[in-house]
Amino acid sequence: MSEPKTVKFKLNGKDIEAKEGQLVIDAAKDAGVDIPHYCYHPGLGTPENPKGNPGNCRLCIVEVAGAPKPQVSCRTQVKEGMVVASDSPAAKRAQQSSLELHLVNHPLDCPVCDQSGECGLQNYYMEIGKYESSVREDKLHKNKRIVAGPHVMLDQERCILCTRCTRFVDNVTKTHELGIFGRGHKEHIDLVPGKTLDNPYSGNVVDICPVGALTERDFRYKVRVWYLDETDSVCPGCSRGCSISLHTNTKRPWHNDGKRVARIKPRHNPEVNGWWICDEGRYGYKSLDEDRLGRIMRLKDQRRELSWTEAFEEVSSKLSSAKGLAVVASGMLSNEDWAAFKPLFVDKLKAEQIIFTPEPDQLGEEDALLRKREKVPNLKGAEVQGLKSYSFPDLRTAIEKGEVKALYVIERDLTKIWGEKTEELLAKLDLVVFQGPNKTATGDLAHYRLPVTAYAEEEGHFTNFEGKVQAYKRALEPLGQAKPDWAIFAGLSEHLAGERQREAVA
């Protein structure tokens, strides 16, 4: 494939270079000119498939010299020498009038609408609208409260019929739950009779809806969007590692039911996830605020809360004297964690067994769009470190035979693998250490339970199944005493070294 030819065209009086055949709206965006639009969405249409852009909202209208009438820039391709104006009086009037017509029957219920603050109608009204309303007629009424599916609410009155959501379920998920029924001004988006919007990617329709017609049931009425902070992150939900944005509420802690994380939105990344994320990833953030560990605990032999120094001393001393150490790790660890993991458990402690394969606790559904079977982000990180995993049956046999007497469990709940047998197996051991961000049954059975920061409270990198390394940033303060996994590994390493020094002195 040869590269498309570069052509020159004029946009608002400026000479601009673009690829031949590129849509005017895309070329303008590359040149820093954002032409207003609703129905156009780059994830739903391409120049090769212009049908992806229906051109029905008529908002992205521009003037093209020589054309008999204004053109929609989402369907007009750039040609050499073309002269385009998106800011001429005629183009501006056409854009403003399209906006006005979109608002004729819009309910303007912004005070109770979750989209408020990130609404295409509000934003364009401030950018290109600012006219006095001429509508004296009553609004047409449609259905306002339709439970479209487990995650999505539909308000037909707010809908501007841009068809993004129907194109998403038709072209992206190919699940066809939504359609545009009726005709003319009685037209409305609705569920196909007998269907529910319950495909594994249903939440994306909320993101692409430019208005408040499709809102998240999960997010409804929780917090105003302008109170939220956004942090670039990577979804830890599977080995795809979709680029996400964490939307957190810390300025008004009394909103959002007191929870810090309000929602997750996909972040466009053409190399990993395109425009979308799955619902599992999107709604998997609850564990960031729920059932969290914050205290460093010795749970057996005189239960008490410890300081990190005490914990490092006690745990490192027990680890160094343990006979037959096994480590259950997890693809939840970051590249930085894995880098600190190896010197501690492999080089210093010479663990008998290291296991990080996903078992039922970390396996799930896979599909052709995004979802991967392994529900952890970074198994590749272990591979990169040259680590090889034993299996859980190996470990169980070793425990039963008494070859393994100490177990270090990182972020995993063994009851989800061994079920009721777990307690019996763990009882055979001299030492069980658990570290993780959340409460688990395994954590409760351990001798020591160490609190770990969640991915949203630290920064690091995950390497996805294709070997792509992606950075995630810190969105929140750690809870309680929680430390990143690597810091705990480092702390233990230091204390092991210190102990050996002391031994040498003695």
Partner: protein, 581 residues
């Protein structure tokens, strides 16, 4: 998993009938609309279980099927009466008292609009134009035109059609209409029928096109595009071997009924033209898309096709009919093609034009059936002869000219509503005079020259010659040649409201300016008629109209913005009475 239905949606015989629609056309999906019509006829409605079966049968999504069912007014999700009575409330019918007829009907049946009588026998509804303006106020039962909705016919719930008045001068298409048997192959051939086709078979496609280019024939369905020029844009056979011709018989614009009459009187004339067009663009398939309300014309055409096929005259060309389901927008070529593909009638946005990418992605010529009917005469008598009948081109003024005659539907406030075929270039006033002049000796206030989407002309402008180029000098267009005469008593705000209401009802809903603008304009006019006009309304109507025309996807949308502006410009006093300044 959906629970297994305890009862089958259809009997095995019915399933066979539906199955047959999957093989009627070159692609199975093209039979979808007809299959749904069949389901509606059997069940008086289309239920989700029917939709499910049909979606599976045609290997399409439930979404698409349900979109069709909710888009086309002929399909319902609740049972209609076994007899579905429809009263037209298009402009001519409203002017002739459609509202009164509806009131009588409501009283007679004892149910309001859209409600079925308890015995399941009757339901009634107001319909947009049913193409019978000369029978105003027209009514139909189950897509069969009954005639005028008089007190007597409503009392009997059946009517009789008035004979269609025919007139004009130098007629071509209608000259043999006095022969009541013209619809038969035998009679048609007696009058020289299929001689043009025989001559055409001896000519090459290129020669046929050249003859039609010479004739100056322009499309008579609304756009007035030169027919020969349109054919010339079809890519060569080597590049695209499969191509189609579609006869557009979706006449639905208030004021237009000439296609109805052409089809019921002379179906073979249409078919002969269709064969010639097929040969001119090397198509093996000729389709006719007929509007859903023309049940009788559909039957007549199917019979004619049967006769033609028995005679062997058509050669290898396969002829098929498809019927619409009550959407004016289907008359627009790209919306028509979408419908034929089993989709709701949302217009496409050319380029590419249908002659390059048309039906099922193949090059497709869509010509109105009157345009097609002209072809036998052009081939028989020569393009030059045809061109001379009308208005010659004027290359200096870049006027392409208008060849031949046109069949005008004349209705409204006129003595003898009917169809009048005259050479293009005949003055509007002359055509009105042929139709007996303004009804009851009243004065002419104005007229709509081309069907209600064409802006009106005033009485002072009535001497304008009716051809594609002259009519533009008075700010209107030929449309589909439907003249509605408006006498001195007409309130032009009421007229504009009736037309905008029609357009709002028929707006397909795809693009925002038309969908919202047609409805908004209609409501402003309704409020003005209600005595609640405000000084802001006039400038607002003007502005909304300007903001729609030229910014929408299709020509219907363009007219949404033109109609009210046209009436305001030509009849400002009527608007001043309704809207304070």
């Amino acid at each position: 998993m959906t629970p297994v239905a305890t009862q089958k949606a259809f009997t095995s015989e019915q399933e066979k009938v539906l199955q047959a629609w999957t093989t009627e056309y070159p692609y199975p999906i093209m039979g979808l609309l007809e299959a749904l019509r069949q389901v509606q006829q059997w069940n008086l409605c289309i239920r989700p279980e029917h939709e499910d079966f049909v979606a599976n049968l045609f290997k399409t999504t439930l979404t698409r099927v349900h979109e069709l069912v909710t888009f086309f007014p002929m399909f319902t999700t609740e049972p209609t009466g076994r007899k579905r009575v429809g009263v037209c409330h298009g402009l001519s019918c409203t002017m002739a008292g459609a509202e009164k007829a509806c009131a009588s009907l409501e009283k007679k049946l004892g149910v309001s609009e859209g409600v079925t009588t308890k015995d399941g026998e009757y339901s009634w509804e107001e319909l947009e134009c049913i193409g019978a303006c000369e029978q105003a106020p027209a009514f139909q039962i189950n897509d069969e035109l009954q005639g005028p909705a008089t007190e007597e016919s409503i009392a009997k719930l059946s009517g009789s059609r008035r004979p269609v008045i025919l007139g004009g001068e130098k007629p071509l298409l209608t000259k043999d209409f006095a022969d009541a048997a013209l619809h038969t192959l035998e009679a048609y051939r007696k009058h020289g029928g299929y001689e043009g086709w025989k001559k055409a078979q001896a000519m090459s496609p290129a020669e046929l096109s050249a003859e039609v280019v010479k004739s100056n024939l322009r499309g008579l369905g609304g756009a007035g595009f030169p027919t020969g020029g349109k054919w010339g844009t079809v890519p060569p056979v080597e590049k695209a071997p499969e191509r189609y011709v579609v006869g557009n018989y979706d006449e639905s614009e208030p004021g237009c009924f000439k296609d109805r009459v052409l089809g019921e009187r002379s179906p073979h004339q249409i078919l002969e033209g269709l064969l010639i067009a097929c040969r001119a663009v090397s198509s093996k398939w000729g389709f006719i898309f007929i509007r859903g309300e023309y049940a009788a014309q559909d039957r007549i055409l199917r019979k004619a096709i049967g006769e033609l096929q028995m005679s062997g005259l058509a050669g290898e060309i396969k002829l098929r009919i498809m019927r619409g389901a009550g959407a004016y927008i289907c008359g627009l070529d790209t919306a028509l093609l979408e419908t034929m593909e089993g989709k709701k009638a949302w217009p496409r946005q050319p380029p590419p034009f249908p002659t390059v990418v048309g039906l099922m992605g193949k090059p497709t010529v869509v010509n109105n059936i009157e345009t097609l009917s002209m072809l036998p005469h052009i081939i028989k008598n020569g393009g030059e002869w045809f061109a001379k009948l009308g208005v010659p081109p004027n290359p200096e003024k870049k006027i392409p000219g208008s060849g031949g005659t046109a069949v005008f539907s004349v209705s409204g406030d006129v003595e003898k509503p009917g169809i009048y075929e005259v050479p293009l270039g005949t003055p509007l006033r002359k055509v009105i005079d042929m139709a007996g002049g303004v009804e009851g000796g009243k004065k002419l206030k104005g007229a709509i020259p081309g069907g209600t989407s064409a802006p009106p002309v005033t009485a002072a402008e009535a001497d304008v010659p009716l051809d594609f180029d002259s009519i533009r000098t008075v700010g209107s267009f030929m449309g589909a040649c439907g003249i509605i005469v408006l006498d001195e008593t007409r309130d032009m705000v009421e007229v504009a409201h009736n037309i905008e209401r029609f357009l709002a009802h028929e707006s397909c809903g795809q693009c925002t300016p038309c969908r919202e603008g047609s409805e908004w304009t209609t409501r402003i006019l309704a409020r003005a008629l209600d005595g609640k006009g405000t000084p802001a309304d006039a400038p607002n109507l003007q502005r909304i109209g300007e903001n729609i025309t030229g910014k929408v996807i299709c020509a219907l949308g363009d007219t949404v913005g033109m109609v009210t502006r046209g009436f305001m410009k030509k009849f400002p006093d009527d608007f001043k009475k309704r809207i304070p300044s």
